[in-house]
C-alpha cells in the first residue's frame, strides 16, 4: 500500500510541477543557442550585456527600434542582410575591434 500511495503522491507532485512551473523564457535572455547549418553556437547574452561583463550597450547590436527586438525579426535567411551575415559581421567585427573574443569558426560553432 505504501508503494501505491507513494506512486500517487509522486504523480500529483510531478504533474503539479510541470503544470504550475512551465519552462519560461526570461524577458532578457541569459544565454542563446543559435542553430545553424555549421553547428550550434552558444551565445552568452548576459555576460555581453552586463556592466560586470563586457558592458556592450543594447543598441550596439539591437540597432533598430526603441526597444531591442530579436535579431531574427529582421535578419531572415532570405532577407537583404542574411542572419548568418549579420551575426558574422556583428560578432567577429566586434571581436576584431576590441581584440578579444573568438574569431575562428570552431571557437563558436559546435557540431
Amino acid at each position: 500500500m505504501l508503494a501505491y500511495a507513494l506512486a500517487a503522491i509522486l504523480l500529483v507532485v510531478g504533474v503539479v510541477c510541470y503544470a504550475a512551473f512551465p519552462a519560461k523564457t526570461p524577458e532578457e535572455p541569459v544565454r542563446l543557442m543559435f542553430k545553424t547549418t555549421a553547428g550550434k553556437v552558444l551565445f552568452d547574452h548576459k555576460t555581453h550585456s552586463a556592466d560586470a561583463g563586457y558592458g556592450v550597450a543594447c543598441d550596439d547590436c539591437h540597432h533598430e527600434g526603441d526597444e531591442p527586438v530579436a535579431c531574427s525579426e529582421c535578419h531572415e535567411p532570405d532577407s537583404e542582410v542574411k542572419r548568418s551575415d549579420a551575426f558574422h559581421s556583428q560578432c567577429k567585427g566586434c571581436h576584431e575591434e576590441s581584440g578579444a573574443g573568438p574569431l575562428e569558426c570552431s571557437e563558436c560553432h559546435v557540431m
Binding site: A3, L11, V13, G14, C17, A23, V30, M33, V110
Partner: protein, 322 residues
C-alpha cells in the same frame, strides 16, 4: 534423517546481507537523496517535477506490465521507483514530460519486464532508456541548450561539452572545488560529487553495492584519463576532471554495480569496472558523444555473461566471495 550436506550446486558466489529487496531499494533512494536535493535546490520545482514524475511513471509502467504479463504486482519492492529515480537524476531539469514517460516505459518494459522482471535484466534499465533517449532527442540532452535560461551564479556551460568542443583551455575556468560541490551544469542528480560519494559509500558499507565494481570503474576512468593526459595534456583533460564531471560518479555508485547486469565473481567484477571506465574516457576523448557513460556501461553489460565465465568453478565448489 541424514542432514549431512552431500553436494552443493553453485554457479556463482552468492551473498545475502539479511535485508529484503525493498529495504535495499529504499536505502538506495536514501543514498541518492543528497544529490537529488542539490539538483532540486539548483533548478527548483522543474527538477522536482522531473524526478517525481519519473518515479511515478516508472511505478505505473511496472504495474501496467505486471497486469499485461499476468504476473504478481511488484511495485512494492521499490525497484521500479529506484529505476525512475535514477532516470530522473540523469535528466536535465528541463526535460519534457513526454520524454520522461517514454524513457520510463523503455526502462521498465524493454529494459526490465520483457526479460522477466527484477534480477533478469541483462542491461541496466535506466541506462538503456538514457542511451535510447540521447540518440533520439539530442537537443533535450544538450545541457548547454537545455539549461540556457538558468543563471545559478556559477559557470553554466556543460564542462564535458566545453572539453569536447573547445579543448583543455576552455575547462581551466572550472575549479575542482566547484565540481565536487555540485557548482556545475548538468543533469539533476549527477553534479553533486560529494553527495554522490557519501551516498555511494553508505551503500558500500551497508553491503548494497559491491565496492569492487564501483572502485574499479573509478580506477578505470582515472587511469585512462591519466594516460591520455600524460600523452598530450594540451588536448586531453586530467583524471580529476573526468572523475567529477558528467555522469561518472552517479554511474560509479548507482549504475555500474546494478545487480543483474554486473558480474558476481571477483576478477570479473574488477575487469567489468575497469573496462567500463576505460570505455567511458575513450568515448569522451575520441568518440562522438560528449559523455560516454551510458554506452560504455551498456557495452560492458553485454559482455557481463562472458566476463563471469572467467575462471569457471567446478559444480559443487562454492566460491566464498561475499
Amino acid at each position: 534423517m541424514n542432514n549431512e550436506k552431500k553436494l552443493v550446486v553453485a554457479h556463482a558466489p552468492y551473498w545475502h546481507d539479511g535485508s529484503k529487496i525493498s529495504t535495499k531499494n529504499y536505502n538506495i533512494m536514501v543514498a541518492a537523496l543528497p544529490a537529488v536535493l542539490m539538483g532540486i535546490s539548483h533548478y527548483g520545482a522543474p527538477a522536482l517535477g522531473v524526478v517525481a514524475f519519473a518515479m511515478a511513471c516508472a511505478m505505473i509502467w511496472e504495474l501496467i506490465m505486471n497486469v499485461a504479463m499476468r504476473k504478481p504486482f511488484s511495485i512494492g519492492d521499490g525497484s521500479a521507483a529506484v529505476t525512475g529515480l535514477l532516470l530522473g537524476m540523469l535528466m536535465p531539469a528541463t526535460a519534457p514530460w513526454w520524454v520522461i514517460a517514454l524513457g520510463t516505459f523503455i526502462a521498465l518494459s524493454v529494459g526490465k519486464q520483457i526479460f522477466g522482471g527484477i534480477g533478469f535484466n541483462p542491461l541496466n534499465p535506466p541506462l538503456l532508456a538514457l542511451a535510447m533517449l540521447v540518440i533520439s532527442f539530442k537537443g533535450v540532452f544538450d545541457f548547454d541548450e537545455a539549461l540556457r535560461h538558468y543563471d545559478l551564479g556559477f559557470i553554466m556551460t556543460y564542462p564535458l561539452a566545453d572539453l569536447k568542443y573547445f579543448g583543455t583551455e576552455a575547462i581551466s575556468k572550472f575549479s575542482l572545488g566547484d565540481l565536487v560541490m555540485g557548482r556545475q551544469s548538468g543533469a539533476i542528480g549527477s553534479t553533486f560529487g560529494l553527495g554522490l560519494i557519501v551516498g555511494g559509500l553508505y551503500l558500500i558499507l551497508r553491503g548494497y553495492v559491491r565496492w569492487e565494481i564501483s572502485l574499479s570503474f573509478l580506477a578505470g576512468v582515472f587511469i585512462t584519463a591519466l594516460l591520455f593526459n600524460l600523452s598530450d595534456s594540451n588536448q586531453y583533460a586530467g583524471p580529476m576532471f573526468h572523475l567529477f564531471t558528467g555522469y561518472t560518479l552517479i554511474a560509479a555508485f548507482f549504475l555500474v554495480p546494478e545487480d543483474s547486469s554486473s558480474p558476481a565473481n571477483f576478477i570479473p567484477m574488477l575487469l567489468f569496472g575497469v573496462l567500463a571506465g576505460l570505455m567511458t574516457v575513450l568515448i569522451r576523448n575520441v568518440g562522438a558523444y560528449v559523455d560516454g557513460v551510458p554506452f560504455s556501461i551498456l557495452l560492458l553489460n553485454l559482455a557481463n555473461p562472458l566476463l563471469d565465465k572467467i575462471r569457471p568453478k567446478a559444480i559443487g565448489k562454492v566460491v566464498e566471495n561475499a
